[in-house]
């Protein structure tokens, strides 16, 4: 237990000088292209938030698991060990997130306009671990989310882009069950700046959201052609979706 005198903290207008005094940890689960588990951390400030997530390794073995040269079957398990971030800058009206363009090893920063979220408050209530929670719905990043928040901790930043609520988000999921986030821990920390949390590389390539989506589409098209050409006539190749699916989902 830690006693904080938050009012003594001086917030500055510039995001780089904002102090974060707590860390909120989420268990995050994605089920796009196979299920993956993530450890996510949210550092909420007064007008900005730093959200970071990294895939949780369950298996120790990664890479090519089994190859049968005679039957020509391959089994891959690719584990992405990168740590990704999302900086929500309410002052500048920007979301800045780290991404990796598939097929390129280079990390890029994608800038997107911070869209104020129009939440629909359903009036539903439930108790989660002793917290009185309320439900709200909104469409964010191509997904229809349901969140459960409590106003007993007045923090308006939530995990990923689930912001602008009257309290902290304890649970969030989308209607396809592909994204699931659950608060696991709130830890008060010594005040820390964004620079300390994420030493940003000034030389990192910056892309607009549209540029990033276009790069993805180009890559998907190439991959589809490659994959299709590898199967003989008697193989049925099924493409489930051409949508770009991550935490956000973009239907081109």
């Amino acid at each position: 237990m830690l006693i904080l005198l938050v009012s003594n903290l001086k917030f500055s207008i510039a995001i780089a000088q904002e102090f974060y005094v707590m860390r909120i940890e989420y268990a995050m689960q994605l089920d796009v292209d196979g299920k993956k588990y993530y450890e996510a951390k949210l550092y909420p400030g007064a007008f900005s938030a730093f959200f970071t997530y990294q895939q949780k390794l369950v298996e120790t073995n990664t890479g090519l698991l089994r190859t049968d040269s005679i039957s020509n079957s391959y089994s891959f398990e690719l584990v992405d060990t990168s740590r990704y971030y999302l900086i929500s800058d309410r002052t500048a009206g920007l979301w800045r997130r780290s991404e990796q363009i598939p097929g390129e090893n280079q990390e890029v920063e994608v800038e997107e306009v911070y869209q104020p979220i129009k939440w629909n408050y359903t009036g539903e209530e439930k108790l989660i671990n002793g917290f009185h929670c309320y439900s709200a719905n909104a469409t964010i990043g191509g997904r229809n989310y349901t969140v459960w928040y409590t106003d007993s901790i007045p923090i308006s930043f939530g995990p990923w882009k689930l912001h602008d609520l009257p309290g902290i988000v304890l649970e969030a999921y989308d209607d396809t069950n592909e994204v699931f986030m659950q608060l696991t821990r709130i830890i008060p920390i010594n005040a820390i700046t964004l620079e300390k949390l994420s030493p940003l590389n000034p030389s990192v390539q910056k892309l607009s959201h549209e540029q990033y989506v276009n790069k993805w589409l180009a890559y998907l098209e190439t991959m589809q052609k490659r994959m299709q050409s590898r199967f003989g006539r008697n193989f049925k190749v099924k493409l489930n979706s051409s949508a770009i699916k991550g935490i956000d989902r973009y239907d081109p």
Binding site: M1, L2, I3, L4, L5, S7, K10, F11, I13, M22, A27, Q29, L30, D31, K35, Y37, A46, F47, V58, G63, L64, T67, S69, I70, N72, Y74, F76, R90, G103, Y121, I128, N129, D151, P154, D164, L165, P166, G167, L170, E171, N177, E178, F180, Q182, T184, R185, I186, I187, E221, T222, M223, Q224, K225, R226, M227, Q228, S229, G232, R233, L239
Partner: protein
């Protein structure tokens, strides 16, 4: 005063001078302590009933925009920010307070808050440990789940197919347990289709589940099991669900179900009762999974699909009449119990009765053109079947000590099926009927013991019997009636024992020594009787040299003995065979783009093996007995080398595979007599030594680019026979095949896939006297084109065409055209799958010219009538 505030105040004064407070737009939140603005503060308005109406967050200068005139006087304004005391007051009070001020400022008092470290571990949606993933059921419930499979479909990673089989991460769940109790072994689909959701607390995925405790951590199991953890309040009490639904529109449509369950310390019991006329399949096969359940093998027997017909069928071509098939009745009654008979012994009883009907139809049209004579043949088949299955099993489970386990399992099943087909042959009706009643039983004894950390042994004895009388009745075009009754009985049994020793050092080495002794008898009324016996001994060593290189070695000795008899004709055969089978495989795997594999295996028959054949041939009143005693010598060696460069995910790739087979099989007949095929002439020839030596060499190259694929194959083999101890000249065979395929990117509404290949084959063959019999050059050309149309999300049409042209050196030519069309409509819910398949074969040989055309219209899976609105009553206890 800020510039905005001045401007805003000015505007308010000009336009709304009488109602300043009623139209407040900007509220500024500051701290009492230092009068600095509070950014990120939360400004909310609630109704008098406490419902959130709107919510704003202050910007970097502490301002939030709210038009207070929009809200009722008895609504409430709440402002809160971390580190400050919460401010809350009615809209009426706020308006009054702001009335005398031109800047609307609210100052919050600082608050020394105590922010505890909060850990919400118990409510996390899932929890990971090394081999277990635990999902909290409540986190995945949306309120409309009725059965276990509904809940599982909500959890990412789970899939449940229409038969109730569960997969997690594309891997089939082998066992489903409730609080660690395995009621139904692999027949768990009964649970997934029926068990209610409300008593479930957690769903656990157990990876690397090893059912045999003695082998745990000794043999790496790839099986996945599912454990359902019940809520505490549902342990040791009765609970269940019941439903009754009746359609107001169709009175014969109804659905009734009653499930009850009690998992006490002593008695564990689960019962399911279902009866419906809608075709809902609550039942699942139990008996066919018995073997898989006890030997950790995946059952390969897939349950048959049911076909539901609720809509009148559309008219088929040629004005042929259709027959409406009504609703399909389904019944299920089952009871499973588990109770202790001693501290270390338990009894598990399962009884099950299920009943279901199914039906399908198809139309087939054939046209023959044989030497200018045309024959038209139209066949329509409507087929119905009625099936019932009764099942009973008894299991005795014991754990005499912590390290040993004994299981005895005995199961019986009676399966009755009645198939009725209504043929339409040239528009004349001829029925046929097949009845089959099968009695099966399975008996298993399993005994395992852990000797030490690295040693264990396991003994399994399996016995299986099957009695299947079958009768059929058929009337064909020529009014020939036939009533055939075939009775067959089968007994099959294995005693299977394994000794497992694992040695752990810096590298892992595993030795497995196994032995199987088994026999099988197949008896039928007049046909065939066979007994066989097999025993083998094998050991294997797997040495993992590094993460990417492994070396596998295996040595096995197999002894076979078989005796078979054809009772009607009196033929009988017996033989013994001993095989030595060493294998060696070296693999090197790279995760990026290179993969190398080298393997060698050999099967060696021992020279002293004897294979005896004795034939008795009856012909009228005369009979001849011909006896052979043969010595069989043989071996085969297989050498394979493969190299793959690139991988399918990251770029272009090629692969090459070299395959070499050396095969030798020589039969030496000691008595030296063998009947000629024309037995009346009583011509006997001697073949003291006959056999074959064969080399085969295959080489493949595949080159894959973005959407074009080239492949080629070079094949060479030569075979040499021995006759009367003399080696004959080599017969040779050379084949070259090459081709290319071209595909579209499969991204739009129209896609295609086409290709062509050509194969040249050259045969050089000699007869047994060494005279060259022929030189044959054959060319096969193959062309295909597939077109895919996706009209919208739910309707797909694919058209496939294949043409093969054979051209042989002996002036033999054939053209083969194959055409298929497939239409699928929303396969997930309303199923319509219509297939049109046809082919044309034109044989253009000089002496045998004919053409044959056949096409079929298959509607094996059909439209389901839209779900009826049932007046439904659900009860949960």
């Amino acid at each position: 005063m800020t510039r905005n505030a001045i401007l805003l105040t000015f505007l308010i004064l000009i336009f709304h001078i009488d109602s300043v407070a009623q139209s407040v737009s900007v509220i500024k939140i500051i701290s009492v302590m230092d009068s600095l603005p509070i950014p990120g503060a939360q400004v909310s308005i609630f109704s008098n009933e406490g419902k959130l109406i709107t919510h704003e967050i202050t910007n970097e200068i502490g301002e939030a925009t709210l038009d207070l005139s929009l809200y009722a006087a008895d609504d409430w304004l709440r402002v809160q920010s971390l580190g400050h005391k919460r401010f809350i007051n009615s809209i009426a009070s706020i308006r009054l307070a702001f009335k005398d001020y031109i800047e609307n400022v609210l100052a919050l008092e600082p608050d020394e808050i105590i922010l505890p470290e909060v850990i919400i571990q118990s409510q996390a949606p899932y929890r990971l440990t090394s081999d277990t993933i635990t999902f909290n059921a409540s986190q995945y419930q949306r309120g409309n789940e009725n059965r276990l499979e509904d809940l599982l479909k909500n959890i990412p990673g789970f899939e449940v197919d229409e038969n109730g089989t569960i997969s997690y991460g594309n891997k089939k769940i082998e066992h489903l347990m409730i609080d660690g109790v395995n009621f139904l072994d692999q027949g768990y689909a009964l649970m997934s289709k029926n068990m209610p959701v409300f008593p479930i607390s957690q769903v656990q995925v157990l990876k690397r589940y090893q059912k045999t405790k003695a082998l745990k951590d000794l043999i790496r199991s790839e099986n996945i099991a599912l454990n359902i953890v019940l809520k505490d309040s549902y342990r040791s009490v009765w609970f269940g669900k019941s439903h009754l639904g009746i359609s107001p529109k169709f009175r014969d449509d109804w659905d009734f179900g009653l499930d009850g369950m009690k998992l006490g310390n002593k008695l564990k019991l689960y019962t399911i009762q279902n009866y419906n006329t809608l075709g809902y399949q609550y039942s699942a096969p139990l008996f066919e999974n018995w073997k898989g359940a006890l030997t950790e093998e995946t059952s390969k027997i897939e349950p048959e699909k049911s076909y539901l017909f609720h809509l009148p069928k559309p008219s088929l071509p040629f004005g042929l009449p259709n027959r409406m098939v009504g609703n399909q009745a389904q019944q299920l009654h089952t009871l499973s119990t588990l109770f202790p008979i001693h501290k270390k012994w338990q009894i598990k009883l399962t009884g099950n009765f299920s009943n279901y009907n199914k039906a399908f139809d198809h139309l087939k049209v054939s046209l023959f053109d044989l030497l200018d004579e045309k024959i038209e043949h139209i066949e329509q088949i409507n087929q119905e079947s009625k099936n019932s299955e009764s099942y009973f099993s008894l299991q005795i489970l014991g754990e005499p000590s912590d390290k040993s386990e004994i299981k005895f399992y005995s199961a019986y099943q009676v399966e009755k099926s009645q198939n009725f087909s209504d043929y339409k042959l040239n528009q004349e009706g001829f029925p046929s009927q097949i009845m089959r009643n099968t009695l099966q039983s399975a008996h298993v004894l399993h005994w395992s013991k852990r000797l030490s950390e690295n040693k264990a042994w396991m003994l399994q004895a399996l016995a299986f019997t099957k009695n299947q009388p079958e009768s059929s009745f058929l009337v064909d075009k020529n009014h020939i009636s036939e009533n055939v009754q075939l009775i067959s009985e089968q007994f099959q049994g294995d005693i299977n024992s394994k000794w497992i020793i694992r040695k752990d050092s810096r590298k892992t080495i595993t030795y497995v020594i196994g032995q199987v002794i088994g026999s099988e008898t197949l008896r039928s009324s007049q046909t065939y009787r066979a007994n066989w016996f097999q025993t083998y001994l094998e050991g294997s060593v797997t040495q993992k040299i590094s993460n990417t290189i492994s070396l596998e070695g295996q040595l096995g000795f197999h002894l076979y003995y078989n005796k078979s008899q054809l009772t009607r004709f009196g033929n009988y055969q017996s033989g013994k065979l001993l095989l030595a089978e060493p294998r060696l495989k070296l693999t090197k795997q790279r995760t990026d783009d290179l993969h190398l594999s080298l393997s060698y295996s050999q099967i060696q028959w021992k020279p002293k093996l004897i294979d005896r054949v004795a034939d008795t041939i009856f012909q009228g009143n005369n009979s001849w007995i011909i006896g052979n005693t043969a010595k069989k010598i043989g071996s085969s060696k297989i050498f394979a080398f493969s190299l793959n460069k690139g991988n399918l995910l990251t770029g272009n790739a090629w692969q090459t595979l070299l395959y070499f087979v050396w095969f030798k099989d020589i039969l030496s007949t000691n008595s030296g007599i063998e009947p000629n095929k024309i037995i009346y002439e009583k011509i006997w020839t001697k073949h003291p030594l006959e056999g074959a030596l064969q080399y085969q060499y295959d080489y493949f190259i595949d080159i894959l680019s973005s959407n074009i694929r080239f492949n080629s194959r070079f094949q060479f083999s030569k075979t040499k026979h021995q006759l009367n101890g003399l080696e004959q000249p080599w017969n040779k065979h050379l084949g070259i095949k090459y081709g290319a395929e071209w595909r579209s990117a499969f991204s739009g509404n129209f896609n295609f896939h086409g290709g062509a290949s050509r194969q040249h084959t050259i045969y050089v063959e000699n007869n047994k006297r060494g005279v060259k019999q022929g030189f044959k050059n054959q060319v096969d050309n193959e062309y295909f084109m597939d077109l895919y149309f996706q009209l919208w999300d739910k309707l797909n049409i694919s058209i496939k065409q294949l043409t093969i042209h054979f051209e042989n050196g002996d002036d033999s030519r054939q053209w083969f055209h194959d055409f298929g069309m497939n239409i699928q409509f929303n396969p997930k819910s309303q199923k319509l799958r219509w297939e049109f398949i046809g082919y044309n074969l034109l044989n253009n040989n000089k002496l045998n010219r004919f053409a044959r055309t056949e096409w079929g219209n298959y509607t094996s899976t059909y439209i389901i009538r839209p779900r009826q609105l049932l007046v439904k009553l659900n009860l949960q206890i």
